[in-house]
């Protein structure tokens, strides 16, 4: 009797100790958070986490080797760069990509992924980066689809991936086991799950580089029924936020509050309401308040520009000058005549649900509105770097925008960061560069119409030239 008792006692003790040890070790290698902070706001913007890695992060080592194992699933040579992702010289991570340890190193994206513009003068130049500008070259949907396509490939196996990893780094036996038996299978499962969640995307025109949509919120966060709406819209510039105080946010004016727009954008990167790092987002916001728009990097004809100012003041300023009557406000569809899809895709129901469901968090949402029925007249600071134009990025250059809609390019290529100082915009004629296929933009597809915004299209050629010259100075 006595023996049995002590045996059970011991057994319980052993089990308890084992559970505790396994728990601690497991927690350490899977969930332990090692905060990374950057001294400078700029680095924080480019590389700092905003809280999406817990649920949306990719295991770093896996992320590193996927382009080497599955290069055929990318638009061309160059690994992630073929998706328009940009690395600075010497940096471990691309701009807009984070590396943080939550148990193990994970890769995430942050604000800079969609809000950093890459520009170069010739195809072989080093690209210059403009922080806060739209990432017209980055195909975030393509990135997502690449990861999913890898997971769906029969070669996405622990054996194949470990074979690649063995020569990348000297992993400990424990790390190898962790990757083989936990991280790789779980990541595969997660990506296959995402494949189902993102199935709705495949029923709509591609975003292509530099564009995004609010439907992920509707369908995946708010779990509303799929109404087949298309909400594709260009990524926006986010500099000079102080001057934009009171502007309606999002191209279709969904919310007047910077903080709500920012947190919703953070949620769009994959952060959940529980994991989003609000102080990190606020730090970015504070820095954006006075982030200046970029200067035009090519020569400007001052005389011509001065002539253009008169035209701007006469024909454009009411809607596009800071401090003017209509800037930052909605222009109804009936008046502006641009593609209607985006303006109606974020329904009143979606807005109400968003405000309601996020209410329980300290930051809450109160100001989202739906079915705005129009687009915001934007200020034009740094407009030269914000091509292609219109809310859906359907018009390649300023020159094209000042052309009557029927004469604007019907199709063109997005993703090239080589600048076109003649048309003022990015080069859109080349289908590829360095073997990387650019994304063909077809204005005939739903949400892609380049109609509307006919202001200025009837100007005499001389006036158009001077107006464009003046716009370079913005």
């Amino acid at each position: 009797m006595k023996k049995t008792k002590s045996f059970w006692k011991r057994l319980v003790l052993i089990v308890v100790v084992l559970v505790v040890v396994i728990g601690v070790v497991g927690w350490w290698h899977l969930f332990r958070k090692v905060p990374v902070t950057f001294a400078s706001d700029v680095d924080h913007f480019k590389y700092g986490s905003i809280g999406m890695e817990d649920t949306g992060g990719m295991p770093y080592w896996l992320w590193l080797v996927l382009p080497r194992i599955f290069p055929e699933k990318l638009p061309g040579p160059g690994g992630y760069t073929s998706l328009g992702i940009v690395w600075e010289e010497g940096q471990e991570m691309p701009v807009g990509f984070t590396k943080t340890t939550i148990g193990f190193p994970r890769v995430g994206v942050n604000c800079a992924a969609c809000h950093t513009t890459s520009v170069r003068t010739t195809p072989t130049d080093k690209p210059e980066l403009i922080l806060g500008g739209p990432a017209h070259h980055f195909d975030i949907q393509g990135y997502q689809r690449f990861l999913i396509a890898c997971a769906k490939d029969p070669n996405f196996t622990a054996d194949r991936i470990m074979k690649e990893l063995q020569y990348v780094y000297n992993f400990s036996l424990f790390e190898k086991a962790l990757y083989r038996y936990v991280i790789i299978p779980f990541t595969k499962r997660g990506l296959l799950e995402q494949d189902k969640q993102f199935a709705w995307m495949n029923l709509r025109p591609d975003w292509g580089p530099g564009r995004t949509d609010m439907n992920p919120f509707k369908l995946m966060v708010l779990k509303l029924e799929d109404d087949r709406s298309v909400g594709n819209t260009d990524m926006m510039a986010i500099w000079n936020e102080r001057k934009h105080e009171g502007f309606l946010r999002h191209t279709d004016g969904l919310d007047p509050m910077l903080i709500e727009a920012s947190i919703s954008a953070a949620l769009a990167t994959g952060a959940t309401p529980k994991t989003v790092n609000v102080p990190a987002v606020e730090r970015v916001n504070n820095w954006l308040l006075d982030l200046p728009s970029p200067k035009y990097p090519f020569p400007v004809d001052a005389k011509l520009a001065a002539a253009g100012k008169l035209i701007f003041d006469r024909d454009c300023a009411t809607c596009h000058a800071f401090g003017s009557a209509r800037v930052g406000k909605l222009i109804p569809l009936a008046e502006i005549g641009t593609d209607p899809n985006r303006a109606n895709h974020w329904t009143k129901q979606a807005a109400e649900e968003f405000n309601r469901q996020m209410d329980e968090y300290s930051w809450g949402f109160d100001h989202f509105q739906g079915s705005t029925g129009g687009y915001v007249a934007l200020a034009l600071d740094g407009v030269w770097a914000r091509a292609p134009y219109l809310h859906n990025g359907s018009v390649p250059t300023l020159q094209d925008l000042l052309t009557p809609p029927e004469s604007r390019p019907k199709t063109f290529y997005r993703g090239n960061d080589v600048y076109d100082p003649i048309g003022v915009g990015f080069v859109t004629s080349a289908p590829s560069r360095g073997g990387r296929d650019f994304s063909k933009f077809d204005t005939a597809l739903p949400g892609n119409s380049n109609a509307g915004h006919t202001t200025g299209t009837a100007l005499p050629p001389k006036d158009k030239a001077s107006l464009i010259e003046y716009l370079k100075t913005f």
């Binding site: 040579p77 690994g79 073929s82 010289e89 010497g90 063995q166 020569y167 990348v168 780094y169």
Partner: protein, 482 residues
Amino acid sequence: MRHWKTIRNILLLLAATSATPAYYAWPYVANGVVDFERIDDHFKYGSIGSEPANGIPYWIWKALPELFADKLPGKGYASLGFIQEEGQDRPVGFSNRRVLIDRVSLNCGVCHTGSVRETAGAAPRIIAGMPANTMDLAGYTRFLMDCAKDERFTVDQMMEAIEKVGGKLGFIDRLIYRYAAIPQTKTELLARAPRLKFLDRQPDWGPGRVDTFNPYKALQFNFPMDKLPDEEIIGTVDLPSIWQQRQREGMQLHWDGDNSSVEERNKSAALGAGVTPATIDLPRIKRIEDWLLDVTPPAYPFPIDPALAAQGEPVYRESCANCHGESGRKLTGMYVGKVVPVAEIGTDRHRLDSYTYELLENQNTLYAGYPWRFKQFRKTNGYANMPLDGLWLRAPYLHNGSVPTLRDLLNAPENRPKAFYRGNDVLDRENMGFVSTVSELDGRRFFRFDTSLPGNSSAGHTYGITLKPAEKNALIEFLKTF
């Protein structure tokens, strides 16, 4: 007490029964590498860690030239221009390391050890640190791929060939070769072949040249090479000398000056030889690096006319020193190690364009997880001015090795040889360089270099071409002192 005895006996029994297997297993478990006492032996034959990922099992490597003699231009690896020293088991640049079994791979010496002969009949002098001038690296790569593709590459025929070349494999080795080493080697070479298919889009490298960055794109990152445009698919250059590295720290290194860190450049070159970030043998590379800091090239072996050289010195000071350094021992100068834009230097631009910003971005991930992760690569717009130490051993000239002799370089581009022969190690005393006008010597056929092929242009670098003939003579004499 009795228990303890039992336990002891069991342990003894276990020890006794495992001793025999342990004795036989030990050589396979105790992976290791031969170290050389002399630094130049270490440089020429020592391992830098390229064997685990890229090594070929020793006996297969030995047997390949026997089994596939028809795929080589002559007898053995030496027929590809590799330097075979008397009494050595392998040519210069081939290392050996045991990873379960002995494996052969490449080291620094393969590209940076050359051979020189004063006259056609003289014995070759092997010089460490000079550009390899006779070996055909692409030829070697192709040979391996071709062997793997051949139907004779079977276990039975390979085992037979191994025996023929003197391989007396023990029982365990026999099992390993038969069931693992031979089939695996074939599979791995075949898997590599498609990645290197881009070689067919390039004019032949010929001896003494290498494409640094396109193989990098293919092997390190698995870029789909067939999609790369023609403008960047050719990056073939002359191999450089590697003496006096201390003075080179901070200079823009590589022909296009894409990296200013000697250490990083070395770790990059090691990748080219076949190491991986996980297998690189840092202590053994460090030994080489330390030696290279101050090792100097040998002196010019023929008499130098002091009066003529003295006349050449002011010409050099006037026309060359700012870009190419004070002398062969003092490498300083206002523009030494700095990039001159390609539009200005006017030399062939293929090599510059083969190094892309997109490649640089991917290089940022090499050695990830280690403090020495690459951080110093930069995209430039031209070619870097090289110091001229040991210049007499560095022909042919220009980054792509398109100008056979120094005298030719001092001629206007249109008067430089349109075609010439590379791979001869006999010195051309008259013109400073190697003999480049004969196609064959003692049964060895040399490589015809055609400057009209893409990447091979001998245009540009027109400095000194308007000097008077006497000045050119004097300048060449002075440069012999470097």
